[in-house]
Symmetry: C2
Subunit: 477 residues, 2 copies
Amino acid sequence: MKFVLSTLVLLAAATPSLAFVRPSQSVQRTAPTLNMAALPEVNIGIFGGGTVGGGIVEIIESKREHFEKMTGKSINVKKIVVRDLDKARDFTVPEGCVITTDFDDILGDDSLDIIVEVMGGTTLANDVVRKALSNGQDVVTANKALIAANLPDIEALINKVNEGKDEKVEFRYEAAVCGGIPIIRSLQSDFVGDDITMISGIINGCTNFMLTAMDVHGKSYDEALSEASDLGYAEADPTLDVGGFDARSKLKILIRLAYGIDVEEEDISCRGITDLTKLDFQYAKMMGGSIKLIGVAKAVGDGKVAAFVSPAYVTQNDSLYAVTGATNAIELISKNLETTTLIGQGAGRYPTANSCINDIISLAKGDKTPLPFNPPSKDAKFVNNYESNFFIRLKYKDALGITRQCGEVCEKYGVSIHSMLQNPTTKSDDAAFAIVTEKVPLSSVKKFCAEIEELDWCQGPAFYMPVLREDWETALV
Amino acid sequence: MKFVLSTLVLLAAATPSLAFVRPSQSVQRTAPTLNMAALPEVNIGIFGGGTVGGGIVEIIESKREHFEKMTGKSINVKKIVVRDLDKARDFTVPEGCVITTDFDDILGDDSLDIIVEVMGGTTLANDVVRKALSNGQDVVTANKALIAANLPDIEALINKVNEGKDEKVEFRYEAAVCGGIPIIRSLQSDFVGDDITMISGIINGCTNFMLTAMDVHGKSYDEALSEASDLGYAEADPTLDVGGFDARSKLKILIRLAYGIDVEEEDISCRGITDLTKLDFQYAKMMGGSIKLIGVAKAVGDGKVAAFVSPAYVTQNDSLYAVTGATNAIELISKNLETTTLIGQGAGRYPTANSCINDIISLAKGDKTPLPFNPPSKDAKFVNNYESNFFIRLKYKDALGITRQCGEVCEKYGVSIHSMLQNPTTKSDDAAFAIVTEKVPLSSVKKFCAEIEELDWCQGPAFYMPVLREDWETALV
């Protein structure tokens, strides 16, 4: 059976190209010094010969001897499925490696031990992954959308395939969340005896790049987005980035690993960066910090987990503060380890390929990962509300009684005020002030904002975001 | 054979006690819900029933069912060797677990699968580890001093024991470097296809706590040290911390893992924090940053690796800047991943025990780690010199011609000046100014300082440290 390739063409074309050839890694396969005849082979088929696929091939070839020493095996890329045979490759095709457009060339080939899926999309990719696993082949994927949409189904399939068998298929997806940051394996192996109470972080490189450009370099939102797109940091549809939806997909996967819960993505409260203004950055600076788009999930007791994606104010002392540009960071709070932070490259050819390589070598040396490592919890429940200090920014036209009215509405909804900020340099036609609240539920903030927006002096919608600082711990309820 | 316990007594007594009972984890073993009869057992013997040993037992007991689900095995602590049977334990001894003072109770017991060494020291601990490995038992240790002193010997022994055998012994030491930070496994599994060009970080919690106290809280050196000791952050001999020697031991281990080189600790240039003054922090603040004690190792080309331990100036934008208190951080620069940073707890009961637990569960589920993962490189060479921007602070008594003379000596040794700093608020009896250099070799800075120290106006020894900032990359040559 041949898959129809038109969808794949679209998907591949939609992937931003970060490809470039690094001469030092784009080398011809050299004759190994070890006795090849004695080494068992690990044969690999790759779906996708683009940015990431090319990076994987380059690393395997340039590290051939090193991998042989480490695993005692010869790692060979035997087949690569591409959408267009005639397209020039930005890597050297290994000797003896077949380039094909026919999916069945790989899927029907039992001599392949590991199938690597780096073509993207959720339809064909899902077919490929399921067929390979059903066929008893280990699978490595870098496909975030696929994992976010289908991890439970894939795990169920694997359990079925493995039932009663000694030789179990393995499934790895380190590259699917935050590219080069080893967060998947860390969640699978560094917290086995621990309880994660909170997982939060900067998990979208495009928006962090934009926020840095706006905060540090004074760029406008449009300039920042255009620059991010030019550099290949934005998704084909940048709404996925700026709307917070890409971060939400990743957060869903992290929640599954940290808490064993399957959450519907739509259930996670999600606000992107589109409503942020220069003024918000000015106020953040006055308060001694900056603004980051973060995803947060927290165990809030009674087996409940809450989560959100939102811009948030962070102080200079927060480990997320110094995470600038397209860099990603994940902070884990846990019972044993207290705070652990991982910072690294969330995307790009070599960071993503590096994660795939780690998975491939781990499989080649025979490591097993119980699946799922944290079994889905039937007791755990997802709740969509949280409590935090909030930053609320209100645009206004000058009038008498603003402070009094704010105070009254705050009181009505139990929103206790920590401080008020007003920058005297603000122009009068763009006047705005900000309130920082004590710890209050999101629901109260929403009610407060709705009522304030009805008042004469209030110009346009109110903007609010949680405030993260050491002494003001954000609590999700 | 019975080991003489007097040395062990001394060692155990010298270890600062961080022990406290967390009620939620100090529980009695509960009846497992899985069918015990069907589960294979993994039996553990522990040397050391103190802070870390107690934490390990607590976690194993509180996570019993979870571990059974994950590994399909029953994990049982069967024996614990302690120095004093009569001492009250800060954990609940599991049902059926024997507490003994007789080393041979464990070492002669073939029913034990994993030997955990958390008693510290390098003499008896080395004996224990070697005997267990020779006996075909897997070993987990948290012993930094042991690993720094004996890793190559232990690896050689393991290779000998494993030769020609299908069932190989495994050796794990995640807890030996930076407690709860999973840096060992990260170096063994996240960089398998990568080339690490630089590894640097804050790898001593005691000194980082002291530097934070001095910088942020304005404490004196003596106040900061006394507070660190009270909180259990200091080694029994705090010279190991403040002199940089503890950091150097860890750096030696990291160099071995990142570059496959065995370095003599004494060959690594090492300066502690004892010469730092309040003025240095004032100048660091003027420059917009702070001072951290860091360890750095860098591949400098031609198979050469250079390294040092020293206080260093870091900017606010450096991910190390926000790492305060007893927290540790390790930053890795590599070809594929660019920059990766791991931040976490470098010591303490549960962070350290958590790392031991990760090792134990990894062994229980049958993961294999090729040993050594990065084979020792015969070609790689260690060189003891480096190039950097430097901060040089000179105490002086007022005189004419200071600037001219500094300029002349700088010129003589090729030390190019980037900027000069002088705080006008400095008291005249403690007057000092600082020079920030362009990138120059350490050797030139030393010559410059030696000649300046001879001049009439120069009071006491010159203090110098490297300057780390994004746009001023420290190079080791």
